[in-house]
């Protein structure tokens, strides 16, 4: 046994030695980083990480972009694209490990903006915006910058695009026409009933209300954390945090959903369905819930291959998550934050740069038709970028199929948006992470079966509520309320 013990001691010593080696390495890295930032007249290279399927011609296009930006503001650009599904994880590892970068894409739904701003991944840009980013401030609706503040500071430049979010019911127009359905009175979940009934009776094998596991009925509440059952009622000046499952609106909606489920309007396995792409391909669905955008019906019809009409199911409202739909942040470890901001400013104000980044090189990837319109050339398959993720979309050239007034429609839509009660407030979960982990698990257990109407709310809401309580929801709500009260007091 003696020999045995010795081997532990040896291991321990080894591990110690190793960690000492490590800290030595860490130190070395630091010093080399500091010496690198010498001042020279050469254009500085900005490293830019953004989301999307990597495109073949990125380097080629960035070479052109660099020529342009080197002349204008003295920077060159190296863009790295990371595919959709890998982006959040890879970015997390890279920021946590201190990989050098300057600009990175962030949003409420990918590489979480608020979370990473709090953890210190991004540089606060309040001053930079004032000094190098005036163009951005001018171009954006003030709600963008106000809504994307985290603890009073801005950490990212939101892309100028649709600002509010509006829930709509989308309809498969073929079926609407076939049964001569009248959509004029459609808005609430309940108002769908006669239509769903007609479809159910006449179109067997068609999903009347196409619902998958991500579905949640619209209720006039603003969620504190997307997906957790605490919310503040729209229009409630006291900003009282409530359990969404205990609100009359949600209970009513879930009852209706359960009624629809029992009537067979909703897919039997809605609670575990991950997508509806198969019925969308075959057209065997009648209506579903979607988030609107100006001229969305055209886009939907074009992508599905048959006509779609939509009816509003909610007012257009500016939420935190809609404001943070697409942002560019400057990395906390950027060596050239001022230059990065200058670049972002140019990207959001200069149509030449913006369109180059978006569509590639003129004459290679696209050609211009008219003043602000363009047409993709065959080569564009090697440079097909997600427009919304790369800054101000309203500078981009119209596609030849787009209506002239596209961006006016966007502006009108943005102006129509009302502010959601929590716009600009971001909950700081660091004191209640334990409870959130537990509550999240309870939520996942009950959420989709309740929301899709699969289970009887009369039975399951009490069950879920008591489990939520046991998991510590009350504590989280109390914490949220106190943060919210403090925020409210500060607002005045």
């Amino acid at each position: 046994m003696g020999k045995f013990k010795k081997s532990y001691v040896l291991t321990l010593v080894l591990m110690l030695a190793v960690s000492m080696m490590l800290s030595a390495c860490g130190g070395k890295n630091e010093s080399s980083g500091a010496s690198g930032s010498g001042t020279s007249e050469k254009p500085v290279e900005l490293i830019w990480y953004t989301i999307g399927t990597p495109q073949k011609d990125v380097d080629k296009v960035m070479e052109e972009v660099s020529k342009y930006t080197a002349e204008k503001i003295g920077v060159t650009v190296k863009m790295n694209m990371i595919d959709w599904g890998d982006y959040p994880q890879k970015m997390q590892v890279m920021t946590a490990s201190g990989t050098p970068m300057d600009i990175m894409f962030t949003a409420s739904w990918a590489f979480d903006y608020v979370q990473n701003a709090r953890k210190g991944a991004f540089m606060p840009i309040d001053d930079l915006l004032k000094n190098q980013g005036q163009g951005i401030v001018k171009a954006l609706d003030p709600a963008f910058l106000e809504g994307s503040k985290v603890d009073g500071h801005n950490y990212g430049v939101p892309a100028n695009k649709e600002l509010p979010a509006q829930i709509v019911w989308r309809f498969n127009k073929n079926l609407v026409d076939k049964y001569k359905l009248n959509l004029d009175n459609v808005s609430s979940l309940e108002s769908l009933e006669p239509l769903l009934k007609t479809i159910k009776e006449n179109e067997p094998g068609t999903y009347a209300l196409a619902v998958d596991k991500t579905f949640g009925p619209y209720v006039p509440y603003d969620y504190i954390i997307e997906g957790l059952p605490m919310a503040v009622k729209v229009g409630d000046p006291s900003l009282k945090v409530t359990n969404i499952l205990e609100t009359p609106e949600m209970q009513q909606a879930l009852k209706t959903m359960h009624k629809y489920y029992k009537a067979g309007y909703v897919p039997t396995e809605a609670a575990t369905l991950t997508s509806l792409t198969d019925v969308q391909a075959t057209g065997k669905w009648f209506t579903d819930k979607a988030t609107n955008q100006p001229l969305a019906d055209n886009l939907w019809s074009a992508s599905l291959g048959y006509p779609i009409v939509s009816k509003a199911a909610s007012p257009a409202m500016i939420y935190n998550w809609s404001v943070m739909g697409s942002m560019q942040a400057i990395s906390a470890n950027s060596k050239y934050p001022e230059k990065a901001m200058e670049f972002l400013n140019l990207l959001n104000t200069d149509p030449v740069l913006r369109n180059m980044v978006d569509s590639g090189i003129e004459g290679v990837h696209y050609k211009k038709v008219g003043n602000d319109a363009m047409e993709n050339l065959p080569e564009s398959k090697n440079y097909d970028m997600p427009t919304f993720s790369l800054g101000n979309v309203m500078l981009t050239y119209l596609d030849k199929n787009d209506p002239e007034n596209k961006w006016d429609e966007f502006k009108k839509f943005n102006e129509s948006g009302e502010k959601a009660p929590l716009l600009g407030f971001n909950f700081d979960p660091s004191k209640v992470t334990t409870e959130i982990a537990a509550v999240q698990n309870v939520k996942e257990e009950f959420w989709s079966s309740l929301m899709t109407g699969t289970v009887d709310p009369d039975k399951f809401i009490p069950q879920a509520t008591s489990k939520f309580k046991a998991a510590g929801l009350d504590k989280i709500m109390a914490e949220a309320q106190s943060q919210l009260d403090a925020w409210k007091a500060n607002q005045k």
Partner: protein, 312 residues
């Protein structure tokens, strides 16, 4: 002084074998032991520092055992621990028995060519990712398009909603596990059977032992060291669950959580919105430490009875 001299004499005596372990030892230092320093994050509220990772670790606040609390704080803690443990115990035992049996079956089949075809076939599930396996299980168990409900309807039975009925899921999970892993696991035993000195069987035949006696008295005892080692190693991972098996295959259906939620899925779901590296590191550390304690205990017991087959 004398002891140091002795130490160097020993080193010298073992120098060739030490040279043999050297490359891999270096590898382990770089790829395993160096990164282990990161385990300290389990006790930190990890925040980024602009000076890189090590600075971040140093600057982050110590939070003691705070990051571990979410693993124990609720009623779910009992369920996930129970599920993880029970499934793994079952996997270890059934997995061992079936893998050894299958290896023996394959080694005894007279037509060797056919045996090879079987072996190759059994290996295929190993290549399918859990996502794809999830699709398959769904194509069997789907309510309206699934094969099982189709067949049931021929016999006049009512269709079952498999993804909300938890009665059968423990069985389904075990079956899917076996289906996916047996091919892989039996290969080791098959190779071990092939490595058994043939003269042992010849000697047994001369003594008039029949096939069953040969298997029982030669094959199984010869496989025992491997069975012991593999079981010990599996015990070390007894608090780890295969995420895909418990997440993708039941399609993350909430109604099944009481029989499918395991530590790994719980951690995944719980940290989705906060993304605290400290907490996920804490979970991993907890799983490892328990596994470590269990292996050391079982290894100790094995040493008592059968010194040669212990891990170390």
């Amino acid at each position: 002084m004398k002891r140091i001299g002795e130490f160097f004499r020993d080193l010298n005596k073992n120098r060739v074998l030490l040279l043999m372990v050297l490359p891999t030892t270096i590898w382990f230092l770089f790829f395993s032991y160096l990164p282990m320093a990161g385990m300290v994050i389990a006790f930190k509220e990890y925040r980024y520092s602009r000076d890189g990772f090590w600075a971040s670790i140093v600057d982050s606040k110590w939070v003691g055992w705070q990051n571990f609390k979410f693993l124990f704080s609720t009623n779910d803690a009992y369920i996930i621990t129970r599920n993880t443990l029970l499934y793994n115990v079952f996997f270890i035992i059934v997995g061992l028995v079936v893998a050894v049996l299958m290896a023996i079956v394959l080694s005894e089949i007279a037509n060797k060519r056919l045996a090879k075809v079987y072996q190759t076939g059994m290996f295929l599930p190993y290549f399918l990712s859990w996502v794809i396996v999830g699709y398959f299980v769904f194509s069997f168990l789907s309510y309206d398009k699934g094969m099982v409900n189709h067949i049931a309807s021929w016999f006049g039975a009512d269709p079952t909603q498999w993804y909300t009925d938890k009665t059968y899921w423990p069985l389904i999970i075990v079956l899917v596990f076996l289906w996916k892993s047996i091919g892989y696991n039996s290969v080791v035993y098959l190779a071990a059977i092939m490595g058994i000195d043939k003269s042992l069987y010849e000697a047994a035949m001369i003594d008039g032992a029949n096939k069953r006696q040969q298997i029982w008295n030669i094959t199984i005892p010869m496989l025992k060291p491997l069975m012991t080692i593999l079981t010990l190693l599996a015990i070390g991972r007894i608090f780890y669950a295969d995420f895909g098996l418990f997440y993708q295959v039941p399609r993350d259906s909430g109604a099944l959580y009481s029989v499918t939620n395991v530590i790994d899925t719980y951690v995944y779901r719980g940290l989705k919105s906060t993304g605290e590296i400290g907490m996920s590191t804490a979970a991993g550390l907890y799983q490892s430490v328990i596994g470590f304690v269990l292996v050391m205990t079982s290894n100790y017991i094995v040493r008592k009875f059968d010194k040669d087959n212990a891990l170390f």
